[in-house]
Symmetry: C2
Subunit: 499 residues, 2 copies
C-alpha cells in the first residue's frame, strides 16, 4: 500500500534525513486548520454565544446523526490524503498513512469528534483536526516517514450519551469489556444502546476493538487545557505528564413520597433535601481535602410540585492528584453520606463550634437511606517519559528562544483517550490554553494562533518520535504497561543533538 | 327528567319527611364502596407495595388513557343510577340525580379521579366513589331529595400532568382562564396540551365550563387527610374549616457549564451547588417561620457526569396558615436566594455564631444569577359556616355518643377543588385518617371502616343540607363569594333539633 504521491519517489523527503532546520520548516497552515474546525461544526451546531458565525457551540453526542456526518467527513478527508482507513467494532476510525517500513505499528495522533450535549468547537475536535492537518503538511511537503503514522477518532470519549467516558479507547486497551460497551444504555431517554446505535449509523466495523488488532507505537494527543492554568500563567503549551485520578459514583437516596401540603417537616423523609445536604457536604469535603467533587446529573422521583421526592439519584465525580487522595475522599463520602441520610448532624470541620453543621436550623425529619455505587474509575496516570520528552523538545523547538517562559509541564484534570492508550503504548499529550479555562460549554474558545501552535507541536512530536524509532533502541517496562519494548536506544546523543 | 324508580311513587321517601331516626337508618355499604375503589384502580395500576391484590398504588395522570377509562366507568355507574350526565369543555363530569324541585341548583359531592404519577388508591378517588355510593344508598332506599343532588368528577385536580392544580374547578369558578387551561402543556415530555388531550380522549364537552352554566347550591368533598394529625390524635373525622395558603415558585439558577475535572472549585459558577444551598436554606426558613417549603421538581442542564451544571430550575412550594405568612416566606426567599446566588454567606439564624451559615467550609466560587417566578397561588380559604355546621352535625350523629372524642375541626394542608367551589357556592370538606399521613405515594392507605365512616358523614351532610334548603332561608355574603344568597333561615330551631 502506497500513497499516490509516493509514485514520484525522487521528490520524497525522508524523516531520517531531516535535520533540525528541515523539521522546523514544516509548518501547519493555521487558516486551513481553523477551516476544518469550523467546517465540521456544521454537524451538530450548538448554542450561539457571540455575533460571529463561528461563535456557536457544538452538540454532537456520540453516534448521533451529526456524529455520523462528522465521521464520514473524517474518512473522506483522510482517504483523500492517501490513508488506509479501518473501523473497529466500537466505531473507532483509524486512518493510517504508510511509511517506509510498514511492518511496524504506526505512530498515532488521536482524539475524538463527539461532544458534550452543549459542548464547544475545540474539545476533542482540535486534536482530530490537528491530526488531519498533520497529514496535509506531510503530503504537501512530500514527507516520507520511516514508520506509518495514523490519526484515530475514538468513539464516545465524552461518555455523555453512553455514560462511560473514554469508552472505546478503554475497550481497545482491554480495560472495558466489549459487551459492557455495546450494551451501555444512553443516558436519556434510555431506549437504545451503544451497539444498536453503532449499527444504526453504519459504524460497527468488522475489526476487533483491541490493541492487538490495531497496535500503536505511540499515541500523541493535542487538546485544549479545559482549565485556567495556562491562561493564568501566560503559557502557550502545556506538556502533559499525566492525568489526575478520578472516580464516578452514583448516589441513590431513598425517602418517602408524601404530600407537600399536608406533611409537616418532621414527618418527612425528603430525599431531595437530603441529597442537597450531601451535594453541599461533598463540596466542603473537597475543599478540605484539596480535591474536586462535582454533581453533573440529578434525577428525582416522582417529579411533581406538590409531592416530596421519595427518591433521588445523582452522580458524584471526585478527582485528586493521587489514587490515595481519591480513596480518602470516597471513604469520607461513604462515611458522612450514611450519617446525613440517617439524620445525623454532620459537619464538624470546625469542632469548636457545633453550629458549623448541615442540620443547624433544620427540622429533624424521618431517616432516609443511601446507596453509593462506583460506576467508573480512572487511576492516576503517568505518561511515558520518552513521549513527554518528545513533546517537550518539540514545544521548545516550535516556540524558539522564549520557550522557557511559554512552556510548562502539568497534569490533566480531565480524562482523555490517552489515559487508556498509555496502558498499551507510549503516550503523552499537548495542552493549549482556552479562554478562562471554560470547556464543556458552547462558549469554549481557543485562539487560532494557539490551535496552530498546538498542531505544530503535535506535528513535530510525531516526526521526532518517528526519527527516534529509527535511530534509537529503547527497552522499558513501566506499570501498568504490558507493552514491554520499543526500539532500544543505541545513540541517545544523536537524539539529543536534534534539539 | 325522572329516575326510573320514581315510577313507583308510593314507595318514595322524601328528605323533608325524614326524622333523625330515618336519617340515621340510611347506611353506606362498606363492601360495595371498597369494591368501587379497588375496581377502578385497574385503570392505571401503580407500584405494588404489599402482598394483597389491593396493595398497589395508582398512576392515573389526568386525560391519560387510564383516566379516560375511569371516566367512562363514572358515567356508566351514575347513569345506571338514574343520573343525567353533563360534560363541560374542561372535561368536568357532572352527574345529577333529580329531586322534587328541579328548578334550583343541585347540592354536589365532588372530587377527582386523576392521581399523581405514583399516587395511591384514595386521594380523590374516595371522594368520587363515596359520591357514587351515596347515589346507590338513595336509590336502594327510594329516597327523594327536595332538590337535585349531584356528583362531580373534576379534571386534573392534581396538576401533576398539566402543572396547574385544581385546574378545572378553577376554570369553573372563573379564576383560571379557559385558554390558559386548554393551552397548558404537559410537564413531560411537553409535546401535548390539555386541550389536545381532552379532544383525544373524547372528553371536551360542549357545555361552557362555568359556575353559571352549572351552578351548585353547595359542594361537599370527602378526602383522606393526607397528613398525620387525625391518626396521631386518634380521631375518625376531621371537619375541615379551611385550607392553608400556598404559592408555587419556579426558581432558575444560572451559572456556567465547565468541565468537572479541569475547573478548580474557585473558578466554578456551579448552578447545582447553588441550588442545593437554596433548597437547604428554604427548609431552614420554613423551620424558623412555622411554614412549609418543598421542592418536588428539579431539572438541570446539560446533565453530564463530568460537566458542572450551568443551569438548574426547581419548584418551590411554600405554605402557611395565612396569606401574610406565605408572603413573608416569599420575601425571605427572594431576599436570601439572590444573596446565595451572588456568593454571600447567608445564614445568621444564630447571629452569635458566624459559622452557622451555608458557605462555611465552602470554596468561594464565581457568582450565579437567580430568577424567581410565581406560577400558582392559592390564598388561605375559609369554608362556609353553614356547610361546616352540616358536616359537624352529620359527624356527631354518625359517630354517636363518643363523637366528642372522635371528631376534630382542622384546616387542610393541601389544596382541593373545594377551594375553588368555595368561591362560588357554600362548601366544606370531610377528612378521614390515612396511615401515617402518607399520600402521593403508592402505599397511601385508608382503612375500610374509615372510608365508610367518611362516606356516611358525606351522605348525612348532603341530606341535612337538602333538608336545610327546604326548611331554612339564609342570606349571607362572604368574601370572596359572589353568590349572595341561599335560602334564608326561617327556623333555626327545627334544624337544631335534627342533631
Amino acid at each position: 500500500m502506497r500513497r499516490p504521491f509516493a509514485m514520484t519517489p525522487r521528490r520524497e523527503l525522508h524523516t531520517r534525513e531531516m535535520d533540525e532546520e528541515h523539521l522546523q520548516s514544516l509548518k501547519v497552515n493555521t487558516q486551513r486548520l481553523m477551516e476544518d474546525i469550523h467546517y465540521t461544526s456544521r454537524w451538530g451546531t450548538g448554542e450561539k454565544w457571540g455575533e460571529k458565525p463561528t461563535e456557536t457551540g457544538v452538540s454532537r453526542l456520540a453516534l448521533s446523526d451529526a456524529d455520523k456526518e462528522a465521521r464520514d467527513w473524517f474518512i473522506h478527508a483522510t482517504e483523500a490524503l492517501g490513508c488506509h482507513v479501518t473501523i473497529d467494532e466500537m466505531g473507532n476510525i483509524f486512518a493510517v498513512r504508510p511509511g517506509v517500513k510498514n511492518d511496524k505499528p504506526p505512530t498515532f495522533v488521536g482524539s475524538h469528534l463527539d461532544t458534550q450535549p452543549s459542548g464547544g468547537r475545540y474539545d476533542g475536535i482540535l486534536g482530530v483536526c490537528a491530526g488531519v492537518e498533520m497529514l496535509k503538511v506531510l503530503a504537501d511537503n512530500w514527507v516520507e516517514t520511516e514508520y506509518p503514522v495514523g490519526v484515530v477518532n475514538w468513539t464516545n470519549e465524552e461518555g455523555a450519551r453512553f455514560p462511560i467516558s473514554m469508552m472505546s479507547s478503554g475497550v481497545w486497551a482491554g480495560y472495558i469489556p466489549l459487551d459492557t460497551a455495546h450494551n451501555a444504555k444512553e443516558v436519556h431517554p434510555g431506549t437504545t444502546t451503544m451497539g444498536a446505535e453503532l449499527k444504526r449509523i453504519g459504524y460497527m466495523g468488522k475489526m476487533p476493538c483491541s490493541h492487538e488488532s490495531m497496535p500503536m507505537a505511540a499515541h500523541f494527543e493535542l487538546h485544549i487545557e479545559q482549565g485556567p492554568l495556562l491562561e493564568m500563567s501566560n503559557k502557550k503549551i502545556g506538556v502533559v505528564t499525566g492525568v489526575q485520578a478520578y472516580k464516578w459514583l452514583q448516589v441513590t437516596v431513598k425517602g418517602r413520597e408524601t404530600h407537600t401540603g399536608t406533611t409537616d417537616l418532621k414527618s418527612r423523609a425528603d430525599a431531595l433535601l437530603t441529597a442537597a445536604k450531601m451535594i453541599l457536604h461533598s463540596h466542603k469535603l473537597a475543599t478540605a481535602n484539596n480535591a474536586l467533587a462535582s454533581t453533573g446529573i440529578l434525577h428525582l422521583k416522582p417529579g411533581s410540585t406538590n409531592t416530596v421526592p421519595g427518591e433521588v439519584t445523582f452522580t458524584l465525580d471526585i478527582r485528586a492528584q493521587s489514587d490515595e487522595a481519591v480513596a480518602r475522599m470516597e471513604h469520607l463520602i461513604n462515611h458522612d453520606f450514611h450519617k446525613i441520610a440517617s439524620g445525623e448532624n454532620v459537619g464538624g470541620l470546625n469542632p469548636g463550634c457545633p453550629l458549623d453543621a448541615l442540620n443547624t436550623g433544620c427540622t429533624p425529619g424521618l431517616p432516609c437511606t443511601v446507596t453509593i455505587k462506583e460506576f467508573f474509575k480512572s487511576p492516576a496516570t503517568n505518561f511515558n517519559p520518552l513521549c513527554i520528552d518528545a513533546v517537550n523538545r518539540a514545544a521548545h523547538s516550535v516556540l524558539g528562544p522564549d520557550s522557557q517562559d511559554l512552556v510548562m509541564e502539568m497534569t490533566s484534570g480531565a480524562g482523555h483517550d490517552s489515559v487508556y492508550t498509555n496502558k498499551r503504548c507510549p503516550t503523552s499529550m499537548i495542552f493549549v490554553p482556552c479562554r478562562e479555562g471554560v470547556s464543556h460549554n458552547p462558549a469554549e474558545f481557543c485562539k487560532d494562533e494557539d490551535c496552530a501552535l498546538g498542531a505544530q507541536v503535535l506535528l513535530q512530536s510525531v516526526l521526532r518520535f518517528d526519527r527516534m524509532r529509527e535511530v534509537q533502541r529503547v527497552t522499558w517496562k513501566q506499570e501498568p504497561y504490558t507493552l514491554e519494548d520499543v526500539h532500544a536506544s543505541e545513540n541517545a546523543r544523536t537524539w539529543e543533538m536534534d534539539r
